[in-house]
Amino acid sequence: MAKKTLIIGGGIAGITAAQKIAQNGGTALLIEKEGHLGGNFAKLTYTFPVLADAKGIVTREIKTAEELAGIEILPRTTLESCRGEAGNFTVELGTPSGRRTEQVAAIVVAAGFHYMEPTAYTEYAYGRSAKVVTSLEFEKMAAEGRLPQGPARVVFVHCVGSRDKAKGYRYCSKICCSYSAKHAIMLKQANPEAKAYVFYIDIRALGKGYEEFIREAMEKYNVRYIRGRVAKVIESGDKLLVRAEDSLIGNPVEVEADLVVLASAMEPPQGSRALAGILGIATDEYGFFREAEANVRPCHSSKEGIFLAGSCTQPMEIAAAVAMGGLAASEALILSR
């Protein structure tokens, strides 16, 4: 029998890696620290760039994984120790029913990302006003049918915590331009009376159909894009005043809003440095897992036999996490035959 692969993290990257290993004759042990699979994907309502049904897709993928004979899924489980080398690792797992030791040939780290709580952004009234939410909270509001009703004005704020070395991260979170457009479209579809404003620095929509998707937000759904990073959100009665500079005009502008949505940063998963310590692999300056070589070995960690998949390496969209999960699976299979 083929030797096992341990997969850490049951988001879409880990689920995909497990599926591909099992479908190609291998066996996978998928551990997830939460009680259920799906990760951040399971918190979404629709997905860009086609407004696909997020819950439907993620449920289907989880079901496929659960039904494959070659996959054992361990919820509420974490890695406690790891010894050995490529082809022959001994790992200790902390499971709800106690400690369990396993021999595995390869390890795939798919621990995903954490969404930054923008508490440092007091200028945006986050945490002070209930009308200022993050994009992830907006997903929840949409899922629960709590989007603003009637002629409400919603302002979407790009690059909160990203591209900000003073209070956040220097990097660009890569997909918030796209999901903010998605949110503006979701708002307009749910409530055509609403007005949507997006404040951006640069629009980064690099993927098939992404640019067209954002143009559609502007042209078809009449979402107004204003170039300028929001400077302040001021509470004013039951409204919010959003102040920025329209840098294409060179003038200060103000929008009175009913809801402000902050596109916060995708940051490394919590505890990534501790996990890297247990595994003996490298992280980058932020705490994302570091690839051995950025161009042609994106899923090799700094240690033989340990592979990386998904948004635990950098902010990325679902399609990229799936591609990396598949690649990590094929690397792991080489070691498990």
Binding site: E123, P151, R153, C159, R163, D164, K165, A166, K167, G168, K195, Y197, I201, R224, I226, R227, G228, R229, V230, A231, K232, R243, A244, E245, S247, G250, N251, P252, V253, E254, V255, E256
Partner: protein
């Protein structure tokens, strides 16, 4: 008017005195968006930085903006994603304007933050009282 891009200008002097390169500016315009004076500016702080980078020295030194920028104000530096000290930049530019015999556009830099800096609450009231006119509101 077409600007002539140049490489030699007061940029170097400004960078030396603030100890930072102006190239770190992201041109995000967060600085101008929250400034209580931005409605009176002829150049926004972001435009000052951009103009300095291309050595449009005359344009910057002749601007009203450098004189309007508040005395000991750090409102925009506090929110700037790269922490550029715009207030210090304007102070350096005023000094240089003085050396070149350029007349101040105002007697002295605005006192708003000077007057209210002792207390955040009064600072906000000060902002409200001194910036109630002329703001453009985005149409619905």
């Amino acid at each position: 008017m077409r600007l002539k891009i140049d490489e030699d200008g007061i940029r170097t002097m400004v960078e030396q005195s603030i100890g930072k390169s102006l190239t770190s500016c992201l041109q995000c315009s967060k600085c101008g968006g929250g400034c209580v004076h931005s409605e009176e500016f002829d150049l926004t702080p972001r435009q000052v930085v951009e103009s300095l980078l291309d050595c449009q020295d005359g344009k910057v030194l002749d601007s009203r903006m450098i004189w309007l920028c508040g005395r000991s104000c750090s409102a925009c530096q506090a929110v700037c994603p790269v922490g550029l000290p715009l207030n210090e930049i304007m102070a350096v530019l005023r000094e240089e304007a003085g050396r070149r015999g350029i007349e101040p556009k105002y007697e002295k830099p605005s006192m708003i933050y000077y007057k209210f800096e002792h207390c955040a609450k009064h600072q906000e009231e000060g902002e409200a009282s001194e910036s109630s006119t002329g703001r453009e509101t985005q149409p619905a």
